[in-house]
Amino acid sequence: MRLPRLNNVILETTTKVVSYLILAFAIYLFLAGHNNPGGGFVAGLVTASALVLNYLTFDMETIEKRKNFHFRIMIGIGLLLAVGTGLGGVLFGQAFLTHAFGMFDLPFLGETELATATIFDLGVYFVVVGVTMTIILSIGADE
């Protein structure tokens, strides 16, 4: 972003705190999606909003210096996950994108429902984060 570097302590501190809250909410939305409002799409957007907040508060160079990450790669990972889930059904002799689910007894969590649809949703999540960030960052960084 081309905003001048502001020495805004309140904003920076709030961002540091709020980012975790937003990210936690995003994870909640993602996991809750199958039974409550939420899902990969919204969770992805919310995650992106947390990231955008960071980019707005600290400027782009600062963040890029800390980590060298390309959101474009996330798009590819997301698509691979989604298609891979679809192909998983094919491996078991089912039609493309046939999902399976079941209850499993997991350590720490106890009786939990696991569904392959969640992996698919994860793909959606990745793509949404990747695309949103790619778009905003390319437009924002454009001179």
Binding site: H34, G38, G39, L45, F120, V124, T132, I139, D142
Partner: protein, 774 residues
């Protein structure tokens, strides 16, 4: 038989090889073998055909569609095949001496052989689709031959004109063929002729007849399509002799003759066919007198002679058909030799303009003799063959006139046309070979051409004389089978007599000769009447104007609709949608209005709706982009509230975030844009836009109301509600539908997102690299 048809085509493969490799020998000598061998083969088949045998051969091409390369040889076909190969041989021989080695001989002979195949295919095909294929091939090869000297503007113009007109007719003919197929269910001409009674009762009978006649008339240069033939004279003279006198222009006649038994029963057959033929005969011969170019005269003369043959086919009595066939044969002979004579004169003097020619008799005695015999045959003067067929023409018209009310007009008009024919024939001979020799006008001192060039016209002249003196030679073997093939009634060979008593035909011939001589002797006095004929009335003028007009109209139409302004295209699209859907809504009476299924409206919804309406109305009046974005965003957030109100939490969530992010994007992108320009459009433009947008809005509203009021099926959502947990293990139906029941859509949607993201990335990152190329 198929091999006979395709032989010239196959030989074209060797022409370039021979042309390139064998430099010592004129490539025409090799080509000459083809038509000569074909001619001999057909000649050997002649006795069989004359005995009433029919040679039918089948070759599968597209059997599933009933399109097979079936050849059928009867009296009519073999007459044409003999003319095509016979004159073809003579023309090839003539062209060997006529065309210089410096010409592109390879091209010339390939086109010529192509044409020969096409012509043989037309006359030998029994299947109409195959016939049509060859028919268009004649148009194409004729186009190539007319444009042989493609460096000249006139050649290209003539080639284009002939192609446009003949293909126009060809396509009409194709439509006629398709109609015949729908009536009978077969493409075979024999089978169609076999069920002609059934065809005659069909409602498509008349349209198919008119369409096929249209094809025949345009090919045979009949009024008003005759205009392409004079312009086709830009072709090399052997081509004119072959295509435009003996063969291609007779394809239409072949077609009319072929379908004569089918269509002649109709009342309109005689008025259309004979009417057009008569008009062409008189108009063509009238215009021929005006021409000053040798080939121009011959072109118009061909037009009028073809008209004569077509008149006779219109009569469709046995006598008339015999006369038609006889004249067809005769015309091929004398017109071929006339063109060759014109070519020789051109070749030896450097001009074809009869105003510059004259007195060539003593310099070119052999050519002059050829010209004398051929022109007098054309004029219908005894003892040449033209006299006999013209007598038969008069006899047939007198005979047919007896059956009509205003019958006497028919022989009178026939005589009128023949008088002009007589006049231009005389001009053709006397203007060229008699009178003063204008040496200073000529490029070289004229003399008889090399012997090789004279062989072909001399052979034709011998035929003219032989038939003129002993016409019955061809009566039994050629004419009778041909007439039988046309009329489908067994024919006795007619006795053609030179002198059959003092009767009407003889009197008419005498009138023609007497009046014709008078007119010819005094033609200077009335030649100026041609100058009174305004350009406005000529068909060439109409042709040029219509082409130009078509050009202009399409250009301006394109200018009107293709403005390049996206706004106009949008307006057109919206108007189209409105007219089409609104029209459908009105005409099919599908508008429905029912309040039975409506939910109660609460004050909350009313408030939200008012908010949306207020924001939507505000947007067009705003002048700042930021305000526009914010107002649009307000609409988006109110929609979120709607979703909340209508109990769609997932949608509300998503809409909220998407709206926010897209607003951020809008603001990011619009920061760099200049201020909104002041709307420059006039009041009427604004009114137009208002009208379009409100009508589209109204339409969508009406459709929505109708769609809501007509519920034909129970919605599928019941199933999803019932089975979302036991089939997919989730309680959130929306999410279950998105990732499980309809997961495929979601997968493609994230693909769309990815493409959009990468697209934006590449548009921005790769934009400046190659700025110079843009």
């Amino acid at each position: 038989m198929q091999l006979l048809v395709l032989a010239p085509l196959l030989f074209t493969l060797f022409v370039p090889l021979l042309y390139r490799r064998v430099k010592a020998i004129h490539v025409g000598w090799f080509v000459l073998l083809v038509p000569v061998l074909l001619f001999v083969s057909f000649l050997r088949l002649l006795p069989q055909v004359a005995n009433g045998e029919r040679v039918l051969q089948d070759l599968s091409w597209i059997p599933s569609l009933g399109v097979n390369f079936t050849t059928y040889l009867d009296g009519l076909s073999i007459l044409f095949a003999l003319i095509i190969t016979g004159i073809g041989s003579l023309v090839v021989l003539y062209s060997i001496y006529y065309l210089n080695r410096s010409e592109q001989l390879g091209h010339f002979y390939i086109y010529l052989l192509l044409f020969m195949t096409a012509m043989l295919g037309v006359v030998l095909s029994d299947n109409m689709i195959v016939l049509y294929t060859f028919w268009e091939l004649t148009s194409l090869s004729s186009f190539l031959l007319i444009g042989f000297w493609y460096q000249r503007d006139k050649s290209r113009f003539g080639a284009q004109k002939s192609l446009l007109l003949t293909v126009f007719g060809g396509l009409a003919m194709l439509a006629g063929i398709v109609l015949l197929y729908t009536i009978t269910g077969t493409f075979s001409i024999r089978e169609i002729l076999g069920q002609k009674d059934m065809v005659a009762e069909s409602a498509l009978f008349l349209p198919s007849m008119l369409l096929i006649l249209l094809g025949a008339f345009s090919k045979s240069a009949q009024f008003p399509f005759h205009i392409w033939l004079p312009d086709a004279m830009e072709a090399p003279t052997p081509v004119s002799a072959y295509l435009h006198s003996a063969t291609m222009v007779k394809a239409g006649i072949y077609l009319i003759a072929r379908f004569l038994p089918l269509y002649a029963v109709h009342d309109w057959w005689f008025p259309i066919v004979s009417g057009i033929g008569l008009l062409t005969l008189i108009w063509g011969s009238f215009l021929a007198v005006k021409q000053t170019d040798l080939k121009g005269i011959l072109a118009y003369s061909t037009v009028s002679q073809l008209g004569l043959i077509i008149i006779l086919l219109g009569f469709s009595t046995p006598l008339a058909v015999t006369a038609a066939v006889f004249h067809l044969f005769n015309h091929a002979a004398f017109k071929g030799s006339l063109f060759m004579m014109a070519g020789i004169v051109d070749h030896e003097t450097g001009t074809r303009d009869i105003r510059r020619l004259g007195g060539l008799f003593s310099f070119m005695p052999i050519t002059a003799t050829v010209g004398f015999i051929a022109t007098f045959a054309m004029a219908g003067i005894p003892p040449f063959n033209g006299f006999l067929s013209k007598e038969m023409f008069f006899a047939a018209s007198v005979e047919y006139a007896g059956t009509l009310n205003w019958g006497f007009l028919l022989p009178a008009l026939a005589v009128l046309g023949s008088i002009f024919t007589f006049v231009y024939s005389m001009m053709l001979f006397f203007k060229v070979f008699r009178g003063e020799l204008q040496l200073e006008q000529l490029e070289q001192k004229p003399h008889d051409p090399p012997k090789g060039m004279l062989i072909s016209p001399l052979i034709l002249v011998v035929i003219i004389l032989t038939i003129g003196l002993f016409p019955n030679l061809i009566s039994a073997p050629i004419l009778a089978p041909a007439v039988e093939a046309i009329t489908l009634i067994p024919q006795e060979p007619v006795e053609i007599e030179h002198f059959h008593g003092f009767n009407w035909p003889l009197a008419m011939t005498l009138i023609v000769i007497a009046v014709g001589t008078l007119i010819y002797l005094s033609y200077r006095k009335w030649l100026h009447i041609y100058n009174h004929l305004p350009e406005f009335l000529t068909w060439n003028g109409w042709y040029d104007r219509s082409l130009r007009g078509l050009d202009r109209i399409t250009t301006s139409l394109t200018r009107i609709q293709m403005t390049g302004s996206l706004r106009n295209y949008l307006a057109i699209i919206f108007i189209f949608i409105f007219v089409l859907s609104g029209g459908l809504l009105l005409t099919t009476d599908s508008f429905a209005f029912s309040t039975s299924d409506l939910a109660p409206v609460g004050w909350y919804e009313v408030l939200l709706a008012l908010g949306v309406i207020a924001a939507a109305i505000t947007v067009p009046f705003l002048t700042s982009r930021i305000a526009m974005v914010l107002t649009t965003g307000a609409i988006g957030y109110i929609v979120v509230l709607f979703f909340v109100d209508f109990r769609a939490p997932d949608l509300a969530l998503t809409q909220l975030v998407v709206e926010t992010i897209s607003m951020v994007l809008f603001l990011l992108a619009f920061v760099h844009l200049p201020r909104v320009p002041k709307e420059k459009g006039s009041k009427s433009l604004k009114l137009r836009n208002l009208l379009i947008s409100s009508s589209v809005g109204l339409l969508v509203m009406l459709i929505a109301i109708s769609a809501h009021s007509t519920r034909l099926f129970t919605p599928i959502s019941e199933y999803f509600i019932k089975h979302s947990y036991d089939l997919a293990g989730g309680h959130n139906i929306v999410n279950v539908i998105l990732v499980d029941f309809r997961g495929f859509d979601t997968m493609l949607e994230i693909l769309v997102l990815s493409i959009a993201g990468l697209g934006i990335y590449s548009m921005i990152k790769l934009r400046n690299r190659k700025e110079d190329d843009v």
